[in-house]
Symmetry: C2
């Protein structure tokens, strides 16, 4: 049901195919975030039109509302949200640790308060798997403890070791055979811990491996260093997924370091703030220059936004806070990243990835660091 | 360029075709409101999919932002908003009189404050036409004074007489020959004034006539009475447009009284408040009954919302305030009204309009009156 085929490499960049029960995913790939069972503002048809292969859903948000029971009863996440291509769900670990200040971490699991009604909720590795089995994604994630940046090595090591014990409980708790479970390498920004964690996760019988905890803050150099340390320790035959990264430059730099899968809220979030990408970098549509701009957001872009509407019209929609504006920018930004991944895949196949990467990085002005 | 053909009648109900330079409109028709150059949440492709023949744009909103100059420079409203079918623009009169408390009405025109930046703006019949010529709609409206409900007959008569003088200035100010100008019958809820106004407007050389000022408040009976008085005085060969009406029951009752065109924000506004229509009336999607409802919003509905999504999923989106939810309900509500108009047109052609009207009114529970 789940299979990864590595077709070719170009330097350390890898070109592969993931096969799931909902179809194939060509890698390297970017996965748009459908946090609450919808990629904000767009519908499944638009996602298909832009060539989206796989979506990410958030266990944390969906467990709070509407709950795993309901989605299971409705036939699972795919059917419920009208998306028949692959889905990956995260375990909720990242949100529990990043969105909540009030929490109690114990060996058994984590206690936190619902941000919706203040209810006390206890999430364990077993419960995270149970909910993900109810949601029914093709790829599910182990429940991990994502230590915050700035904590010391002792704290980070404890969190990492607990994550190791938890992943074994996740594997044991898993009952569905049609879902692929990925463990998550932790260890903060301490190379020695990352090595231990990578070796531990590599030793497990899982069809893929993720690297977590690198997208926190604005630590681009540290993120690259972590991947440099971890990647050589990962089995070549398994897909590698770096969580929470979606800045174009980072995608290039991590594909160059042997990573196959990415997700990030940045294309959709930027869109809702009136920001879009083109080959030169980020732009703010409310800039007065766009008022009379008859051209599309990006010349030669084939997305359904650029094919139909001028920058002038989209600027007006954003100024007026019209929902269609947010949607049109979301379509463009997601298409931009998905198209970038298509170009990256072709370049790897033709063994010219480094040339493409250099060309892109030279042209693209990255006004921001990290994943914001 | 502009032509109205009356094909057949069934009682007083009329089945016609309006021909414009952007194509034909089958009547009776409902026109969705694209207030700020977008029908809120949906795109032109979706409007075409649901069989939308003509949109309404608002001169008042567009003159304030981005301004008629910009839209003219960008090639006109059709090109700018990516809509190649007919458009009707109102004159701004209704908004000036309904949205503003601080105003000065003089013979020359109306002074009001922009709700955006407080600027003093002076709108005259000539200026309203000038802006509508810049926008470039197929049908444009005369600048009128829409007297509020509750004022006495003297006030209403003065407003009506000014409207009569203003429509003559509008006709004189008009320079484009490819736009049809419709005057607006006023006179409040005073039958004797309505008669005077209807006779005056009927005597003008215009290709169509509108009835304004009937959608204010919750005065369904009064609205019907006004139309009863006015309609017999209107030339049979001209299309008649009742402004601001979109409640399903009202559409039936006014088609039955010989009206051909309607517009209203109600389908889109209800959607944004989580309300949808089916043949039984209005429903609130956040109702707990829909939580596990696997069926679409309306059985046998062929709209792209009902074809793809369950009520359960849409309820979740609305509860989470997800934009896709507002969009899916908007699509359904607009489709519902447009489909109703298709059924009405077929029924008139087949001389069974009264049977359809009775059947609909018996089934449809109208919990609300007026146009809300």
């Amino acid at each position: 049901m789940f299979q990864f085929t590595l077709h070719t490499t170009d330097g350390r960049a890898r070109r592969g195919t993931l096969t799931t029960r909902h179809g194939e995913i060509q890698t390297p790939c970017f996965m748009p975030c459908g946090t609450k069972a919808t990629v904000k503002t767009v519908d499944p048809e638009e996602l298909k039109q832009m060539g989206c292969q796989i979506l990410l859903g958030n266990t944390y948000h969906l467990m709070l509302r509407p709950g795993g029971d309901l989605i299971e009863k409705m036939g699972g996440l795919h059917k419920w949200m009208g998306w028949d291509r692959p889905i990956l769900t995260d375990s909720g670990g990242f949100q529990v640790f990043s969105l909540h200040k009030i929490r109690k971490i114990a060996e058994d699991g984590v206690e936190f308060q619902s941000h919706i009604n203040g209810d006390k909720i206890f999430l364990t590795p077993e419960r995270a798997i149970e909910i993900q089995e109810q949601l029914g994604a093709d790829i599910i994630m182990a429940f991990d403890e994502c230590a915050p940046t700035g904590v010391d090595m002792t704290y980070t090591k404890e969190a990492m070791e607990r994550t190791h014990r938890w992943v074994e409980r996740c594997l044991k708790a898993k009952t569905r055979t049609d879902q692929a479970l990925f463990p998550i390498v932790q260890g903060g920004f301490f190379p020695e811990l990352r090595k231990i964690s990578a070796e531990f996760m590599a030793g497990l019988d899982t069809p893929g491996i993720a690297i977590g905890g690198v997208s926190v803050g604005e630590l681009r150099e540290e993120m690259h260093e972590v991947v440099e340390v971890v990647e050589p320790l990962l089995p070549k035959e398994k897909p590698r997924y770096v969580m929470g990264v979606g800045e174009p430059i980072d995608l290039f730099n991590l594909v160059a370091r042997g990573i196959d899968m990415f997700d990030c809220v940045i294309p959709t979030r930027l869109a809702r703030h009136g920001t879009f990408w083109d080959q030169y970098g980020r732009h703010t549509i409310t800039n007065a220059d766009y008022r009379t701009q008859e051209n599309p957001l990006q010349k030669n872009c084939v997305c359904t936004t650029c094919q139909r509407f001028s920058a002038s019209y989209i600027r007006h929609l954003i100024v007026e806070n019209e929902i269609l504006g947010h949607r049109l920018l979301t379509i463009h930004n997601l298409h931009f990243l998905l198209e970038l991944m298509r170009q990256i895949r072709s370049a790897i196949e033709e063994h010219r990835f480094e040339a493409l990467r250099n060309e892109f990085i030279t042209t693209f002005h990255n006004g921001q660091t990290g994943t914001n």
